[in-house]
């Protein structure tokens, strides 16, 4: 009996020490999403729920890169949509049409992201704040126009579609469950890897350097942090994340057409990061769910919203206004503070019960 108790206590201790590791939550989240796939294959969940999860994961990858730029580097960008589109078209063209292998396509996508990120980064060295946002907005629009007019690469206004893909020598044709499951698992893996990479960057000297660059450039410089290097790094990282998100997007939806990658998409990503909390990974996921997932999973089924789709945009706008006005740290901050308040309230309630049961202390 005693031994069993000891073993249980030991197990609990080990579990507690493991659960404190930052990766633990990510893996649990990934397993939850995987479990959802299992439920769907058993027929307990509808496909729309899985689609919501997939979209949340893909856009979270993009938003995490964006948060490294905005939440840590303090640099505003409105050109995200162009980069996500670029990723999707690279995947669609290189892998789907030109027949380059999957891993090579990913490598090419990362290389292109590097070049574009460096380009934007160099532009950003001379420009700050609002003007940087305008410049990146211009770059995003340029990319969109490029997609529309350069139709051998993107398929022009009608867009590119990806009917099948080949990974590790196995061919997956779209339209059956096998394709769907494989893509879903690939997306979960990429999602977990993106979270791990983000937390590693945040908790390392690079993350601190980015934050200090945002807080005080002069202090950062006098501490040996090169502004040029870290600005370029922030842009490169965010564009790599965005391009990877685009590649995952076309795998999931099998389709990408140029007009989709417009300003409103960039603004949605910005809104997701700000609503959720620009410095917390879970906050970003919550924000992405509110901005992108809620529309697909809940609001479309409410007649009031589905009859006038413009109201969904208004709903998002109101959400942003409320969050920015009352919780500048994002919804994650709201959750944290309310958890803290709940704890205090529970302690008070316990005290009340104690005085009721046992009388006052000074008796």
């Amino acid at each position: 009996m005693m031994k069993l108790k000891n073993i249980l206590a030991n197990f609990k201790k080990q579990f507690l020490s493991i659960s404190k590791h930052p990766y633990f939550g990510f893996i649990v989240l990934g397993l939850v999403f995987l479990f959802a796939l299992l439920l769907r294959n058993m027929g307990l969940l509808t496909i729309s729920v899985i689609n919501t999860f997939t979209l949340v994961m893909i856009y979270s990858v993009v938003a995490m890169g964006f948060s490294l730029l905005l939440g840590f580097g303090g640099l505003a960008s409105l050109g995200t949509a162009g980069l996500v589109g670029l990723g999707s078209f690279i995947m669609g063209y290189m892998h789907g049409k030109a027949g380059i292998s999957f891993t090579a396509t990913i490598a090419i996508a990362i290389g292109v992201a590097l070049v574009v990120g460096l380009l934007v980064g160099f532009i950003s060295l001379r420009i700050e704040g609002m003007y940087l946002a305008i410049i990146t907005l211009g770059l995003g629009e340029m990319l969109r126009q490029f997609f529309i007019s350069y139709d051998t690469f993107t398929g022009g206004f009608t867009g590119t579609s990806l009917r099948s893909f080949q990974i590790f020598g196995k061919l997956f044709e779209s339209g059956n469950d096998n394709y769907f499951n494989t893509v879903y698992i690939i997306i979960i893996i990429c999602f977990i890897l993106a979270m791990v990479a983000t937390i590693n960057i945040i908790k390392s000297p690079t993350g601190r350097a980015l934050l200090s660059m945002k807080n005080s450039e002069s202090a950062a410089q006098s501490m040996g942090i090169s502004i040029i290097k870290y600005r370029l790094l922030a842009f490169v990282l965010s564009s790599v994340f965005a391009v990877l998100g685009g590649a995952l997007y076309i795998l999931h939806t099998k389709f990408s057409y140029p007009p989709q990658w417009n300003l409103s998409y960039s603004l949605d990503i910005l809104a997701a990061v700000i609503v959720g909390g620009a410095q917390s990974i879970y906050g970003i996921i919550i924000g992405v769910f509110l901005i992108f997932g809620l529309k697909v999973s809940v609001l479309n089924y409410i007649p009031f919203f589905s009859n006038n789709p413009a109201l969904i945009v208004i709903f998002n706008g109101v959400l942003i206004v409320l969050v920015v006005m009352f919780y500048p740290g994002g919804l994650i901050r709201l959750l944290q503070t309310s958890w803290y308040k709940l704890k205090i309230k529970l302690a008070k309630l316990k005290m009340k019960w104690r005085t009721y049961r046992y009388g006052k202390d000074d008796q």
Binding site: A197, N200, I201, K203, S204, P205, T206, R208, A209, L211, S212, K214, N215, S216, S218, A219, A220, Q221, S222, M223, G224, I225, S226, I227, L233, Q279, Y356, R357, Y358, G359, Q363
Partner: protein, 471 residues
């Protein structure tokens, strides 16, 4: 041509030498951390063993009905627990009685019931205590058997403890040997490169830029123009190694501009600045960029506190240690073991610095909302992370009250004496400047008025005129 190759070789060797020295230092620091951790682990194990020994002796004593301090305290603790349980029961009873008393129609019956119940509780308490005493009042009292068994137990445990301690000492010695060997090897390599450097230095034209003996910073005709305004006008002076050098002047005299020129926030329009980095190396500061200055051994603070508000105090210190992290970006992306080790070592170092500055209590709090004096101290602590040769303080006493200023003076002196750094400061608080500075330089409208000991400056007529106006 030969000279150029020679100079290039010297630069390469210096780089390698610095790399080796950094590596050796890191190995040493990490070994310290590891040894401390292992020692504490052994201590914990020994304590656990001792605890379990005490428990076993107690069990034996209870078994043989021995009456000694151990069993007495054991039983009295048990009794205390029982008493506490009944205390709470009684309190609950009392509370329920006082609640019912207000509504009850007949108070006499209620009171009677209450008295009865409390009597029952008292009886129960006595019963339980008696039971407990009876349970442990063993009559066997086999003293001989008991002492024999206890002795064997004690011998066994002491042997175990000795074994553990011996093993840990052996392990530590092995580890220390390994580290020492590694350090020796590194030292040998360093010696090799040092010799090479020495032999090369003979026939190379090492530029020492004509710095006098004992001078660490030399400004030569420094001039800074903003458009038509001349903020610093052909200023030149020397700062000696290990002194506290004060730069004073009325408002707008260009003191902070001088600092910004030295730390390369501004690019001086004219003039040269030299800094003695170490015994053999003197650097020409004009050639470096802002973020490279800290690597030469110059750190600065700011007039208005410039901390990273979104990071905790200890993370702020780690930002200052940015140049000490050698792991590259991909190492950080994968969180390699090396990064983990570096983080451990530097965190320990930051904790030591905080302890020295008396800031350890604020380790994990965020700077936003802390008192101004503490913020200034944190900024000062931040400069100590990289073991600089020279600390530049921009108005360290601005915004502090008298007591805090006195403390600051003490701290500045302590830093100078313990870390053997040169301190170069700008200050308006004349009391502080005259108290701590070894040399004071007074400037007005970017021009040097006088330089000398505080007393000489106080008696200088030009300085008085600049501050108080001409008579």
């Amino acid at each position: 041509m030969a000279k150029m190759i020679n100079n290039l070789l010297i630069k390469v060797y210096q780089h390698i030498l610095i790399h080796i020295e950094d590596k050796a230092k890191f190995k040493k620091d990490y070994a310290e951390v590891v040894i401390a951790r292992r020692k504490s682990r052994t201590e914990k194990r020994v304590n656990n063993l001792k605890d379990s020994l005490n428990r076993e002796i107690l069990a034996k004593a209870l078994k043989y009905g021995i009456k000694n301090d151990l069993t007495e305290t054991f039983i009295s603790e048990k009794i205390k627990k029982i008493e506490e349980r009944f205390y709470w029961k009684k309190r609950a009873l009392k509370a329920s009685f006082s609640r019912k008393k207000e509504k009850a129609p007949d108070k006499m019956i209620l009171e009677k019931a209450f008295n009865e119940k409390s009597l029952v509780l008292d009886n129960e308490l006595n019963q339980e205590i008696n039971d407990l005493r009876a349970k442990y009042a063993n009559t066997i009292d086999n003293q001989e058997q008991y002492s024999l068994e206890v002795k064997t137990l004690e011998i066994r445990t002491t042997e175990k403890i000795k074994e553990i301690e011996r093993k840990s000492v052996d392990n530590l010695e092995d580890y220390q040997d390994k580290v020492d060997n590694k350090l020796k090897r590194l030292e040998k390599q360093a010696c090799f490169f040092r010799d090479k450097l020495f032999s090369l230095a003979d026939n190379a034209n090492i530029k020492d830029y004509g710095l006098d003996e004992g001078v660490i910073l030399k400004l030569d005709n420094l001039t800074m123009r903003f458009g038509g305004l001349v903020a610093v006008d052909h200023l030149s002076f020397d700062v000696k190694e290990g002194e506290i050098f004060g730069l004073i002047g009325p408002n707008g005299a260009g003191k902070t501009t001088v600092f910004n020129c030295i730390t390369k926030f501004y690019k001086p329009s004219e003039g040269k600045m030299y800094f003695r980095k170490n015994k053999i190396d003197t650097v020409f500061l004009n050639e470096y960029k802002v973020h490279q200055i800290i690597k030469q051994g110059i750190v600065r603070t700011f007039q208005n506190v410039e901390l990273i508000w979104e990071l905790s105090v200890i993370d702020n210190l780690l930002v200052a240690a940015h140049t000490l992290f050698k792991t590259g970006f991909f190492g950080q992306l994968l969180h390699t073991r090396k990064l983990h080790q570096e983080e451990l070592v530097l965190r320990k170092k930051a904790e030591n610095v905080l302890l020295k500055m008396g800031l350890f209590a604020y380790k994990d709090s965020y700077p936003l909302g802390l008192p101004y004096g503490i913020l200034k101290k944190i900024e000062l602590a931040r400069t100590l992370m990289v073991e600089p040769k020279m600390i530049i303080l921009d108005e360290p006493a601005a915004g502090l009250n008298d007591a805090e200023t006195l403390e600051l003076a003490k701290i500045i002196k302590m830093i100078r004496d313990e870390e053997k750094v040169t301190i170069f400061l700008v200050e308006h608080d004349m009391g502080l400047v005259m108290d701590i500075c070894d040399t004071v330089c007074a400037i007005s409208f970017g021009k040097k008025l006088a330089i000398g000991t505080p007393k000489e400056i106080q008696e200088n007529k030009l300085v008085r005129d600049a501050y108080l106006g001409e008579e």
